[in-house]
Every structure is written in C-alpha cells, then in structure tokens.
C-alpha cells in the first residue's frame, strides 16, 4: 500500500519541480522540446533489447535445460558472461558494429546489443532454473495424461517459467537502464557516434551548463522508471504469483494502490497470445520432419559460423597485437591496479556505512517502514544517470578523484545494503533468543552471532556490488567538458580514450580482455571460495 502512494507522491513532486523550472524561465522551451522524442528513443532501445533478451532467454534456457550436450557448453559460458561487467565491451561493440553497418545505425545496433547483453543472461538462467525445478509430480502428471509437443509447451513449460522470468525481467530492466544511459553517455564523448536519448540529453545539458535542464531530464528518467514500476512490474508480479507452486500460503493481496485487475487481465491476455505464437512457431517447425531437420542444421550452421567468425577475429587481432604491441599497452596493468584501488576505496566506504545501517534498518520496524520505500526508489535510479551531477560536483570541488569515487560508491552501495538487510532479517528468531538467554550482548553478540549470520548475504551483496562498480568505472574516469578532457588514470579511461579519442581497435580489445581476465580471476580467487564457505558453514538450515 505505502510504497505505491510513495511512488505516486514522488512522481507528482518531480513533475511539479520540472514545471516550476519551466515557469520560472530557468530553461528554454526549444531545449525542452527535444525531451519527449529523446525519451521515446531511449524507451524504444530498451524495449527492443528486452524483446530480443526474452526470445533469447526462452530458447537458450529451454535448450540448456533439455539438451545435455548443450548444457555442458552453455552453463559455464552463461556464468562467465554474467560475471563480466559488460560495459567494457561497449566500445568494442561500437567499433565492431560500425565496421559492419556504417554511421549511426551501427551505433544504435551496438547500444541495443549492449543493453541486450545486460538483460539476457540472468533471464536465461531463470528459464533454465524454472525448467529444471518443475516439481516431479507435475511432470509425472503431464506424462500420464500424454501431454506432448505443443500442449506440453503451452500448459507446462511456458507457465512454469513465468515467476522467475518476471522476477528476472525486473532485474534486467534496472540493469538495462544503467547500460542505456551509460551507452548514451559514453557515445556522447565523441561527436560522430552520438545517440539521441535521455542519457545524452542529460550529458549535453550538463556540458552546455544548463543545470536546470539536466535536472528536468533526470526527473523525466525517474518518472518513466517509476511509472513502469507502478503500471507494469507490480501488477505483473502479482499476476505471476499465480504461477508459483507454493500451494500452502494463502494468496497474498498484491501490494498496490489501486485495483490492478485490468492490467493483470491484459498480462494474462498478452501471455496467452505470446504462448500461442510460440506454440504455433513450434508446430511449424515440428510438423514436417524436413523443416525440422533443415531448421536444426541451419541453426547449427549459423551458431557455428558465428562462433567461428568471432574466434577468427579474436585470434587474428591477438596475433596482430602480439606482433605489434601499442606503446600504451604497457600501461594497462598499472591502469588496472589504479582502478582496483579506486574500487576498493569505494567498497570500504560502502562497508563502513552499510553494515551498521543494515542492522539498524532490519531491527527497527519504524525505520524500515519509512526508509525502505525511499531507498528502493533511490536505488531504482541508475547510478550512471547521476554522472552529470558528478560532473557538476567535480567542477565545484575540483577533485575528479573524489567525484569518481562518489560515483562508484553510488553504483555499489545499494546491492550491499539490500542484501545485508535481508541477511539480518533472515536470522531465525530462535538464534536471537538463545543469545539473549545466555546473556550474549554487545561486542560478543556482533562477533559471534550477527556478523557470521550476515556473512552469506555479505558475500552475494559484495559480488554484485563489485560487478556494478566495474561497470560504473567505465564512465567515472573520463569526462569531456566544453571540449576540455579530464581524466583519472585507470582502465576505464584507457578504454574510452582508445575508442573515441583515437579509434584504436587493438587497444580496445586488449583493454577489454585484460579487464575481463582480471575480473574472472578475482571472482575465482576471492569470491567463489567465500561463496562456497558461506553456503556450507554460515547458512541457516531451512
């Protein structure tokens, strides 16, 4: 109830602030005229990428769940793709697609591709997990009625994916906003690759010194995100509840400010149409053996040739690189170290405030009632959209280092905070009672009860926070303001510079690869062992 009203209040507040700016002549109408078009273009990019991500995740998740040979190859590659911060690939993707399609369409494709890559992997995992976790009895029941082919698809396979697909769609959209704004901002660094959209609107109005206009743009972005939350995601979540297996719980009333039956029914309708289309495509491909075989071998052919091409390009460019190493290449290791130190600093600050804050919020009902909706709304703003604000701060205080760390902090903190809060909340009441009955208090309580209990959520929060941090890094280290370039030395700077200041694909590939290797290495050496430990030792038995 509360959060819905709160979101509405925020939306009205933002609209009135924007109107106030307009009426008090802080901004000119001609500038504002661009805004609806720009917003529409951003939304188009998101929807297009989401559509592709949905198709990809359904087919890829289905194949991974049903084909043993495909699983051996897909699961590890999905895992790596998920853990690598993809923003680093945007410059590489821009260069690649511009090579294929010249001019702006190439950049557009690159941006949609980038957003797609930020949306697809977790959704594919969601489909895979839902398909492998269908209760055995339900599969048996379907088998015993002889539900096969399209009937099985329509009544068992697709519905089973709905809850996780909806949950992951929400996650994917918030990641998508981040990457949309980021790709628009990054490409604004170069005149020739500009992408009109909300992100570039924000950055352009900042660079031309129109701070009020930038604030209006930011409000529009936040309003769009909140409206989607209110009218798409929340009704969708309560619609998806029907597709959960959990029989025991009474149906919880959806937390919503108005009766969402119309919206829910339209979701049901859309889902029916969607599954009918999927099913008829399936029927077309399976009715005739010939078509089935042709499509099967064709898809193998396409997949293999695409893989071959990528490998070919990669090997050729690596050979070229090794034969002819650019001078800047030697600065890459140092750049990574610099970036890593910056990230660590931001991470430490995060830990310092989120751990006590999480304990306070989780333990204090009043605080949690007031603060949670505020923070959820704040967290829904992609950290990168605050980049222009960072530019302003930088111009005020003059220290790009500090401003950069603040931006990285914004990109990291919410993951940690929300994970830690749910970690504290998941401590069984009995554990606390035991501690209280033995008189365990103060430091001993923190050391022996609270911190160990928070450990699993600390690890998952940290993994996602670092992922977000690496992504934010790419924009945090490089600013072009009024033709003047400011930068912090680091891997993000090297990447942006190599793409836009002196298009040098060798340098881009080298930077991206070394960053990806570093991150995979850190994951394997630090986070995965910690995660295993968290699962085996620090988890409460259900």
């Amino acid at each position: 109830m509360k959060k819905g009203y709160f979101i509405l209040a925020i939306i009205f507040f933002l609209i009135s602030v924007s109107l106030a700016f307009y009426f008090f002549d802080f901004i000119d109408f001609p500038d504002l005229e661009l805004l609806p078009g720009y917003a529409a273009m951003s939304l188009m990019r998101m929807s297009l990428a989401y559509f592709f991500a949905l198709c990809f995740s359904l087919s890829c998740g289905y194949i991974t769940a049903t084909n043993k040979r495909a699983r051996m190859f897909m699961l590890p590659s999905l895992d790596i793709l998920q853990s690598v911060p993809i923003l680093g690939f945007f410059p590489a993707a821009v260069l690649f697609f511009i090579g294929l399609i010249h001019g702006r369409p190439g950049v557009e494709v690159a941006a949609v591709f980038l957003i797609f890559t930020s949306m697809a992997w977790n959704m594919a995992f969601g489909v895979y997990e839902s398909l492998t976790n269908i209760p055995k009895e339900l599969v048996d029941a379907a088998d015993s009625f002889g539900l096969r082919g399209w009937e099985r698809l329509e009544h068992l396979t697709l519905p089973a994916c709905v809850p996780k697909l909806v949950y992951n769609s929400i996650v994917s959209w918030s990641a998508g906003w981040f990457f949309l704004v980021a790709s628009e901002i990054i490409s604004a660094g170069s005149e020739s690759y500009r992408l009109p959209g909300l992100g570039s609107f924000l950055i352009e109005s900042t660079y031309s010194g129109k701070i009020a206009l930038m604030l209006v743009g930011l409000s529009v972005l936040v309003i769009i995100i909140l409206l989607l939350e209110l009218f798409i995601w929340r009704p969708m979540q309560s619609w998806a509840d029907r597709y959960n297996y959990d029989y025991s719980g009474e149906s919880k009333p959806g937390e919503f400010i108005f009766d969402a039956r119309v919206i829910k029914h339209s979701f049901r309708f859309i889902f029916k149409v969607f599954s009918k289309i999927t099913v008829s495509v399936y029927i077309i491909f399976h009715r005739h053996k010939l078509i089935k075989n042709i499509s099967k071998y064709l898809s193998y052919l396409i997949l293999l040739s695409a893989l071959g091409y990528v490998l070919y390009v990669l090997i050729i460019s690596i050979i070229k690189l090794l034969l002819n190493l650019p001078d800047e290449a030697y600065s890459i290791p140092l750049a990574i170290v610099y970036s890593f130190i910056r990230l660590s600093a931001a991470y430490l600050i995060c830990l310092l405030w989120t751990i006590p804050a999480a304990v306070f919020i989780a333990r204090n009902k009043k605080a949690s009632n007031i603060l949670m909706p505020v923070m959820e709304v704040a967290a829904s703003i992609p950290a990168i959209a605050l980049f222009p604000v960072l530019v302003v701060v930088f111009l005020k205080i003059g220290s790009l280092e500090l401003a950069g760390i603040i931006l990285i902090l914004l990109g990291m903190q919410w993951y940690l905070l929300f994970n830690l809060i749910s970690g504290v909340k998941s401590i069984p009441k009995d554990m606390d009672n035991v501690a209280a009955s033995f008189g365990i208090k103060g430091r001993l309580y923190w050391k022996k009860v609270l911190l160990p209990a928070m450990f699993p959520s600390f690890v998952t929060g940290s993994i996602t926070a670092w992922g977000g941090g690496w992504n934010t890094l790419i924009v945090a280290e490089y600013i072009v303001f009024k033709g003047q370039e400011y930068h912090l030395f680091g891997i993000g700077y090297l990447l942006d510079w190599a793409t836009f200041s002196s298009p040098d694909s060798n340098m881009v590939i080298l930077s991206v690869l070394s960053m990806a290797v570093t991150i995979i290495f850190l994951n394997r050496v630090i986070w995965q062992p910690l995660y295993r430990k968290a699962l085996t030792r620090y988890k409460f038995e259900a």
Partner: protein, 248 residues
Amino acid sequence: MLVEIKNVSKAYETNGNRIQALENINFSVEDNDFICIVGPSGCGKSTLLRIIVGLEKPTSGEVLFKGEVIAPDNPKVSMVFQNFALFPWLTVKENIELALAPMIAGEKEKDKIACKYVRAVGLDGFERVYPRELSGGMKQRVGFARALAVEPVLLCMDEPFSSLDALTSQNLKDELLMLWADKNMPPDAVIMVTHNVEEAVYMANRIIILSPRPGKIVADLKIELDRPRNRKDPEFYRWVDKVYSLIV
C-alpha cells in the same frame, strides 16, 4: 486379467553404486481388484507403482496391460499423486480439462465431462477456483476428479491420503470406495501404495507386502472381510496384526 506384472526388477546407479530397488516382482491385477501395496519405507513401493503406470521403465521384466506393454499416456490407466500435482496456473475445471485434452478435441464435450466429475467428487461451485484457494482435502478431490475424468479402467494412487488430516481422509476413502463399487463409474480396479496398514486393511481386497530393499513380494493376502468394514471389529484387528507381523 487386466494387468500382468512379470518378473519386474529395478536397479539404480548412483555415484557408481548399484542399488537394487525391486527384485522379481510378479503378480496380476484382475477386474474389480482393490490392491494395496504396503511395506517399510524405502522398499520401492512408489517405484513399483510408477513402473506399473509406465512412468518408469523396469531394468528387466515387463508390465502388460490387457496383453500389451504399458505406455505412460495410456488413458485407461490414470494416477493420483501424494501432493496432488495440480497445475497452480489452471482452475479446478481447467485442470480436469487438461487431462482430457489429448483424447477429446471438442471444447463442449470436455466441459461436460469435467463438470460431471467435479460434481462426482462434491466440488460443485468450485469450478473456477484456483488450487491455492482450496484446502488440502478439496485439492485431492480435484486430483481424484482429474484421474477419473479420463474414465480409466485402472486407477493408481501413490499415498493419496497421507498429506491430509485424519477426518478428511476418512471421508474421501469412503467416497472412493463407493465410486469403485459403482459399476457405472470408473475405475474397475485400483492399486494404492500406502504405508498405513489400517488404511490398507480398511480398503483393499488384496494386500501385497514388500520386503525391505531390495523389494520382493513377501505375501499377497486376500482380505476376507465384509464391507462396509468396521475398524472396531476384532476380526479387523486380526488382519491388521497379521499384516504388521509380515512387514517386520
């Protein structure tokens, strides 16, 4: 003879260890049989039932339904599950209609049959309700209606009453016995897996007792008690004691 279970054995392979679950099971099911399969937990009762329905293949041996090898989607054999196995995204009626979908094309006809069996299990008025809104006993009624709607000759049940409370399960048991005795309603024969000996003696006319792993048939008893059976009858308890003595 309705079903023939011939020399059925089943072995699993886990972590390189071979576990013999069932060994040389032989029996046959006649028309109007009500067979209960009992045995200690882990003896392979449920596995045997799944093999009879055709959901699992035996390692050796075969199950013949009217002389032919059983297929899992044989509409003449249907199954009731311990945890109901209702599709949470379908209403009561849609759950029943889904079971009919592979054999009946007409929407009207499906609707008619579904309504008939909703009534038969006493759920009139709940056609459009989703499973999560029903109590456990009502869910299992839907499970029965769905299994009966395909008008099976043989009804197989895997501990259908064990996740219900005592009172509800007693009512359902009596209703099921009435359906079984009714010559105009399916099914002709029932096989039920249970670990509750009293339940078995109350319902079955034959009890098959399996040994601990590997499951072998220890005894195949004909229960010669008049129906309706009375749990307070000393004769009833003689049977219960007899079955217990064979299990341990």
